[in-house]
């Protein structure tokens, strides 16, 4: 439903690439790209202090972050907001 509207990217942190890849395969979340961020450099750039967390980058340059989990409904709602904004 969001395929043409949003680009989803995973940012995997605090482990090595092999472990990341295994986790992605195990969880079946390989439909999109995942950045390997073993030293959480990108996490820090976005001030991510825990996982899971989400950063929503609007097409106008606005960035909002959510630290902590979002349920399916919550994430869906946030993505819809992102698309609408």
């Amino acid at each position: 439903m969001f395929a043409d509207d949003v680009t989803m990217i995973g940012v995997a942190g605090r482990d090595d690439a092999d472990t990341f890849q295994q986790w992605i395969t195990d969880r079946g979340v390989d439909a999109f790209e995942h950045i390997a961020d073993p030293d959480i450099e990108i996490w820090r750039e976005f001030r991510i202090t825990s996982q899971p967390s989400f950063v929503f980058i609007n097409n106008d340059g606005t960035i909002e972050s959510h630290i902590g989990p979002l349920g399916l409904e919550g994430l869906t709602a946030r993505i819809n907001e992102l698309i609408a904004a």
């Binding site: 680009t7 989803m8 940012v11 605090r14 976005f46 989400f54 097409n59």
Partner: protein, 142 residues
Amino acid sequence: MSFSVVNQGDGQARTTRHMLLFMMLRASKKLRSLFVALAVTAIVATSCGGSSGDTAGAASAPAEEADQAAPIEEATAQPSRVATTVTGGQIASAPAEEADQAAPIEEATAEPSRVATTVTGGQIDFGSFEGQDVVLWFWAPW
């Protein structure tokens, strides 16, 4: 399963500092047709066993990121602050600590082409996302 599906309060925080990084996200729309709907479901549930291996758009060149990392790493080498997530505590990125980190991080991100390495060894250029809606999902395998 290390993933909670419980809905949490909204801990969003706008940061103008991130505008710097976002400036590099402006570019083409080449990754626009990723299967995000699938992704959303998978992220939240993390229960599907599928593994189609569809990693669109990844380049094959290896990463050359190491030199960019040094200042950030030193500035933020602190103990992990992960504990609160499980209960959904909203960690509004600690102001005191962030202030010290701000300068080197901004310098590091204010580069014309910020390229990140994917788990498969490809590269993602943040500059290629100009004008797009992008969701970054930060996760770790524990």
